[in-house]
Symmetry: C2
DNA sequence: TAGTGGTCTAGACCACTTG
DNA sequence: AAGTGGTCTAGACCACTAC
């Protein structure tokens, strides 16, 4: 009945491993605290402490009265909220997305370096993000293969507007954390063309690396938009 | 012996109130968990849960083997880390600061609105942040009076390089959280002059509101620097 | 060695969600 | 009503820091 690892931190590691192994599937309930306490031969409080740690991390979601579940990841429109346009109207404006291209490419050295991926091939998705039909962001999204191979089959119009929930649904990969890097640059011809601006217009680039439940980087994203319309909010602790 | 509020959340609120009231001073140890349990007539675990909540918030700092203390606040060079220059050398470069002016001013409507301050007067400090003697950031820092009146007496060369620890030391105000807003603009004549650049050069502005232990805004800061040298890092959860 | 916080137990009862 | 997580108790023992 009882397993090796004692201590709530070891238990947390064990639980994390179950998530990684797919033994506990994303979006689904894990066993009750009482049954886990029995399984591992420890007190309820110890199980609760282990679960609390993973909940803090965003790996597990606790739901009072129901069950504790494995997170399906972020789902907010986490990129476009940084543009001023977003705030104007009273109503929630639904941002759209339009995939321009999705193709398999050879791995880019710079990307491999910053993500640590070992992939022999990447999927590169080019898309724009629009509000009221006007393109505001031009994005290049890189995904490692073979993890995301199911997306390679999709036609341009078959992609969801929100990618992270789509990753969860189609590829069983939950993005729960991301690191953004904001910098400024002058738009290149291609950027300007897609966004309907002049070459050399001030642009803001957000380079994002997104992480899954296991802490592994699973997406590299580079987005550019009009610097004049940009606003980024962040909290410092 | 026992006080009204039961439940760890009420206890946490009570403890927070003690910090606000100055009954528990910043940087100093609070009573041991055991003695608090006795004082409030609850179990140790309940006290621990209350303390954990405040520790999570950054209000209290737990120190295994020693005591739990009230936080003295952030102390990192939280603004200049966003510039590329910072990263070049192997050694830690010590950024400097130079106060240009410190004067009492009438409250600015925009600032009162975004902070909710009721102050009849503000302290405005103008300063630059430099590395290797070169000014990289031009900052305007607004502080509410009378809370910060002790700073009004200081001469320009008497200010510390790091303001947050100085607030804690001189005014007993601990900054534990801040919200930044990053945006892009073209430098005005004054900005450019201070930074040794041409008017109209691309600039990045970081507007920050900093909060103390009680969650009240205690500082409004507006910083501008060279957009081309700027990099902002943030984590998304 | 004394005092602090950290971990753990084995219960009890409460609050929320669902059938 | 049954099952889940949330709160609380009254202990025990461990691990770290200081003197």
């Amino acid at each position: 009945m009882s397993k090796n690892p004692l201590g709530y931190q070891n238990l947390a590691a064990t639980f994390r491993a179950r998530v990684v192994a797919g033994e506990w599937r994303i979006g689904q309930a894990i066993p009750s605290e009482a049954s886990l306490a029995k399984e591992f031969g420890v007190a309820l409080g110890t199980i609760r402490q282990a679960i609390a740690e993973l909940a803090e991390d965003g790996v597990l979601i606790k739901r009072h009265g129901k069950s504790t579940a494995v997170s399906s990841g972020l789902n907010g429109q986490s990129m476009l909220r940084f543009f001023r346009y977003q705030l104007e109207g009273q109503k929630q404006i639904l941002p759209q997305a339009k995939v321009l291209e999705c193709k398999q490419i050879k791995p880019d050295k710079e990307i491999l370096k910053s993500t640590g991926w070992k992939s022999k091939a990447l999927l590169r998705i080019q898309r724009t993000r629009l509000i009221h039909g006007q393109p505001l962001l031009y994005e290049l999204i890189y995904l490692p293969l073979p993890q995301f191979k199911k997306l390679a089959r999709l036609k341009a119009n078959e992609f969801d507007d929100l990618f992270y929930p789509m990753y969860a649904r189609v590829c069983e990969i939950a993005v729960i954390k991301a690191k953004d890097q904001v910098s400024f640059e002058l738009m290149k011809k291609m950027d300007a063309k897609v966004l309907g601006m002049k070459e050399g217009h001030p642009g803001v680039r957000v380079t994002r690396i997104a992480y899954d439940l296991t802490g592994e980087p699973v997406e590299y994203r580079s987005s550019i938009g009009d610097a004049m319309a940009f606003r980024y909010f962040a909290e410092v602790h």
